[in-house]
């Protein structure tokens, strides 16, 4: 059984010196994705996005006064693929090889994407200009019909 949902996820982008990001203590309500040496994406449940952004900005300011922390939630569209075959089905969407768990980035449905993999679930984020494309192609590839239901995202517990 495979379930595809539109996922509501808060995304905070933090740009800072690599050493500052290395030393950042990530708030427990956020999941950290290191997109580059000097760039971190923090995923969180939508209601706490502001708090996460504030907290990260405060912590990073102590490590790099020049750090930039921005809520970029509107820049992303996300879906979750959940089910025992979620990882196997990912091959229908992307040439990327999923890690056992955690973050990776690359091409999904032929556009640049960020991916968070778990045991039985995969979260896929693409720039929001491709939201319709992501929904269409993922639903078609995974055999989903009808509109995608929306669910808020929760930080993985393990």
């Amino acid at each position: 059984m495979l379930e595809i949902t539109r996922t509501l996820v808060g995304v905070v982008a933090a740009s800072a010196a690599a050493r500052a990001l290395d030393g950042l203590v990530v708030p427990g309500r956020a999941f950290a994705c290191r997109a580059a040496d000097d760039e971190l994406l923090l995923l969180c449940a939508p209601p706490v996005t502001d708090e996460v952004a504030r907290e990260v900005a405060t912590r990073l300011a102590a490590l790099d006064p020049d750090a930039l922390v921005i809520d970029t939630t509107d820049g992303w569209a996300a879906i979750s693929v959940v089910g025992s075959d979620a990882r196997g089905s990912f091959g229908l969407l992307s040439p990327l090889e999923l890690p056992d768990a955690g973050f990776l980035q690359g091409e999904v449905v032929h556009v640049p994407a960020k991916v968070v993999a778990g045991d039985d679930r995969v979260l896929i984020l693409v720039p929001s200009i491709w939201e319709a494309h992501l929904h269409d192609r993922a639903a078609k590839a995974l055999g989903h019909t009808g509109p995608l239901e929306a669910h808020p995202w929760a930080v993985p517990t393990s």
Binding site: D66, L68, G91, L92, E97, V111, A132
Partner: protein, 856 residues
């Protein structure tokens, strides 16, 4: 009722385990195809999917190998070659016209007049009988799935299964693909038993065995596309083992393509696996142990078998084999028979191995040890799994008689090759291109070695003349539609207002990779709305970047030719971006924010390049700059027109007066409860506010602006109106009005370049070019005729340029254009002809030249 397929209207019984070929052969079909050029009868030959002889139309699909296609009830099978039929083919007359169809026929005939080739090609293609593509079926219907493994084994024979089992037992993730069912092309019961045992071992070790999956090539990675019945796999493997076996060597002698000539494995498969004797009296010519074993096996099916080892001089017969002539130690012997079975050596199926020459691809089994025993094959597979690469063994060349067909797919005879050689085509690669030998569906699997041997044996050949021709995908035939699997034809970027545009009846178009509205109905009306009231344009497609960090100002100052140091928060400046050669690569707007940050807008199409360009300079100069691409995150709506301010004031408590927010300034304001960065800009030449906002708030902001403008009759407008509005102001579309080697002066944009700055990218080049006279410039034109873009501009009878943008303008009262003009005798001509209309160079802008309206 027993199962049956339909073959050209008649019922053909299907036995369990039948292929289409075996079912038809049992029903008495001997001519399966007619050859491509000479329409010679062709019958079953290899039975392993290597040769082209049994290519039929199965259920509407052309070019299907009948020998490797499982027969099933209700299948509809047709022969596609021959006119009016394959059995009674009048086009067989071409076999008597060899001298009129010489090698290189296509390159020698129908050359002049040129249109003749177009007609001839259609006739020739029909005559070849290569089949028609099924119409109306969506291409790329199969899904494509990416698979990552440690080891991919291609080939489910003894060597492949042994390799897979060995690697999986050592902990590797292994996929094995076999193009048929395991053992389907094996006639030897001992080999079948070994395959079954190894399949069990492999499965127990965790190997994923995929039957009816065909590997079509090896690409960098190694990356191997594999076509299955329901999907196409894109397999990325750390290692690949090609255990694709060998086909028996094809021999060249007169009559070598007659129906009734079999390779020994094919004949044995027909006899042992399907219980069908290939004929009543068979001459088996063999130099291999397997050939002798298969001859004995054929005897058990009731065929009279005569075994010889001498070379075949010729096969005789009309329509099928009636006799063969064999060279014996004492004489040439003519033997009456209806079947000739050949086992004269091997041609390894090494296409994948050769494609993967620079990749992690190893061979195992008959690919590297042709004709090896089962024990040797198994050991070879296990060695390959353990990383012990095996160099391919030399394969002895099969003796060649004085004529016969070398390439069965393309009907290329030994005589053709000799003629081509005499004409001067003297290496295997150019012989291939000239004669088309090896270019048919088998891709040289059957004839590639013969072609190389032919060229290599010529006394005057250069050392490399006899090299094998390059192996390229596809290694096996595949349906064209499978090439399209997993390809998205159209990936569209959309703004948050996309659905609103559709609701408002917009006609959408692709602008670069964006979907944008062309018009909401009447373009003239939309233009009028902007000029006389107000209009709304979705400009969310613009590139939008936040530039921060302690070196942000330095980056902007060093990259762009615009003055940055005096750009205080709240001010904006138009900018052009130059490359090191001083050529314009993009343009946009730079807005200074608080805390030393900048907000940079680029053109819609230029955003990705702008980001890469800036990141490159940040890295090169080691600057402390954070660059955040906000194109997706931030939407933007342009509200422009004489009533724009009044409409905006209805939705905001902030001061947006001309004094508080003049042209080229910006401010953070709240509009209809939506936080916006309002940028005063003037691309359309009227008072304009670009409202940049969080993407998710776009639709509500747009609705509010539409509603607020209703009393004035403002309306949304699209790219059609924008094209005219910006042309009236002589504002450029980069790419349309510009060429790749334009520096600002050629475009009349030198005012946007602060040459007094100590340095910026492109400055040295501009200084050098500034010392040279301009030879080409972009000018404004009034044209006495209909608007036509891209027409040549003539000064007298000399072409001196072309129009790049052109439109009829109510505001400018006539047809206006931008266009390139070159100097004539040291000056730019001003009286021109655009196509067939008079054109005069005029000053720009065409509308509101003082800019009073946009500064209002």
């Amino acid at each position: 009722m027993s199962e049956a397929l339909r073959f050209e209207g008649r019922r053909v019984a299907v036995e369990p385990g039948d292929t289409v070929a075996s079912a038809l052969y049992r029903a008495g079909v001997r001519t399966f195809t007619r050859s491509l050029k000479y329409h010679r009868r062709r019958g079953l030959f290899c039975m392993t999917g290597d040769c082209p002889n049994c290519s039929l139309n199965v259920d509407g699909d052309p070019g299907v190998r009948a020998c490797t296609t499982d027969a099933r009830d209700g299948q509809v099978v047709l022969r596609e070659s021959g006119w009016p039929s394959a059995e009674h083919d009048l086009l067989h007359v071409t076999d008597r016209l060899h001298r009129f169809l010489p090698v290189g026929f296509y390159s020698k005939t129908f050359i002049r007049p040129r249109f003749v080739w177009g007609l001839a090609e259609r006739v020739i293609r029909r005559a070849t009988g290569v089949g028609r593509l099924p119409a109306g079926r969506p291409a790329g219907a199969k899904p494509a799935r990416a698979v990552h493994v440690d080891l991919l084994v291609v080939g489910g024979g003894v060597a492949g299964l042994a390799a897979a089992a060995e690697a999986a037992a050592a902990g590797s993730r292994v996929v094995l693909v076999e193009e048929r069912r395991l053992g389907a092309t094996v006639w030897d019961p001992r080999a079948l038993a070994r395959i079954q045992a190894l399949a069990q071992e492999a499965t127990a070790a965790g190997v994923r065995i995929l039957e009816r999956h065909t590997a079509v090539g090896v690409y960098e990675g190694p990356f191997v596309p594999v076509v299955g019945p329901d999907e196409v796999l894109h397999i990325e493997a750390a290692h690949v083992i090609a255990a694709t076996g060998a086909v028996e060597a094809h021999a060249v002698f007169p009559g070598n393509d007659l129906p009734g000539v079999f390779l020994s494995r094919g004949a044995a498969l027909l006899g042992v696996r399907h219980g069908i004797g290939p004929g009543r009296r068979a001459v088996v010519v063999t130099v291999t142990d397997e050939g002798r074993a298969s001859a004995e096996a054929l005897r058990t099916t009731g065929v009279e078998v005569l075994i010889h080892d001498g070379p075949v001089i010729a096969a005789e017969g009309s329509g099928r084999v009636r006799a063969v002539i064999i060279e014996t130690p004492s004489c040439r012997e003519r033997i009456t028979c209806d079947t000739l079975v050949l086992s004269l050596g091997w041609a390894p199926r090494d296409a994948l191995l050769r494609m993967g020459a620079d990749q992690e691809v190893a061979g195992a089994g008959e690919v590297v040890i042709p004709g090896c025993s089962l024990e040797e094959a198994e050991a070879s597979g296990r060695r390959a799994a353990n990383g012990q690469d095996e160099a391919p063994s030399d394969v002895p060349t099969v003796p060649v008689a004085d004529d016969g067909y070398v390439c069965l797919c393309e009907d290329v005879s030994l005589h053709d090759l000799e003629q081509a050689w005499d004409e001067g085509w003297r290496s295997s690669e150019i012989l291939k291109r000239y004669t088309t030998a090896t270019m048919g569906p088998c891709q040289g699997a059957v004839c590639g070695r013969l072609l190389a041997a032919f060229a290599g044996a010529r006394a005057d050949a250069v050392a490399t003349a006899g090299a094998r021709t390059t192996a390229r995908p596809p290694a096996r035939p595949l349906p064209l539609e499978d090439l399209a699997s997993g390809v998205d034809e159209s990936i569209e970027r959309r703004t948050s207002l996309h659905d609103r545009h559709l609701e408002l009846g917009a006609r959408m178009e692709r602008s670069g990779s964006w979907s944008r509205p062309t018009s909401f109905g009447d373009i003239e009306q939309e233009i009028g709305s902007v000029r006389h009231r107000a209009g709304l344009l979705d400009v969310g497609t613009l590139g939008k970047f936040l530039v921060a960090g302690r070196d942000a100002a330095e980056l902007m100052d060093r990259v762009f030719p615009v003055r940055v140091r005096d750009l205080t928060p709240g001010r904006s400046r138009y900018l052009v971006a130059l490359d090191e050669a001083g050529y314009v690569i993009d343009d946009g707007l730079l807005a200074a924010l608080d805390h030393g940050r900048f907000y940079l807008c680029s053109t819609s199409g230029g955003a990705p390049a702008m980001e890469a360009w800036l990141r490159d300079w940040i890295d090169r100069w080691d600057l402390h700059v954070h660059l955040l691409d906000q194109t997706a995150q931030v939407g933007a709506i342009l509200l422009a027109g004489p009533d724009a301010r009044r409409i905006l004031e209805r939705l905001t408590d902030d001061d947006v007066s001309a004094e508080a927010l003049p042209h080229m300034r910006h401010a953070e304001i709240i509009v209809a409860d939506v936080p916006c960065r309002a940028l005063r800009v003037g691309f359309v030449g009227e008072v304009g506010f670009e409202l940049h906002h969080d993407r998710s708030r776009g639709p509500e902001l747009y609705d509010a602006l539409l509603e607020a403008g209703r009393p004035e009759g403002s309306q949304p407008f699209g790219l059609g109106a924008l094209d005219v509005l910006r042309l009236e102001k002589a504002h450029l579309y980069l790419g349309q009005d510009t060429l790749p080697d334009d520096h600002p002066a050629k475009l009349g944009l030198d005012w946007a370049v602060a040459m007094e700055k100590p340095d910026f990218i492109g400055k040295p080049a501009l200084e050098r070019m500034g010392a040279l006279p301009l030879e080409r410039t972009l000018v404004g034109l009034r044209i006495e005729g209909e608007p036509r873009r891209g027409v040549p501009l003539l000064a007298g009878d000399r072409v001196v340029g072309r129009t790049t943008s052109c439109a009829r303008s109510e505001a400018a009262r006539g047809t206006i254009a931008l266009g390139w003009v070159r100097t004539v005798d040291g000056s730019f001509p001003t009286e021109l002809v655009a196509g067939d209309a008079r054109a005069v160079v005029v000053p720009t802008p065409f509308y509101d030249p003082e800019g009073a309206r946009l500064r209002a």
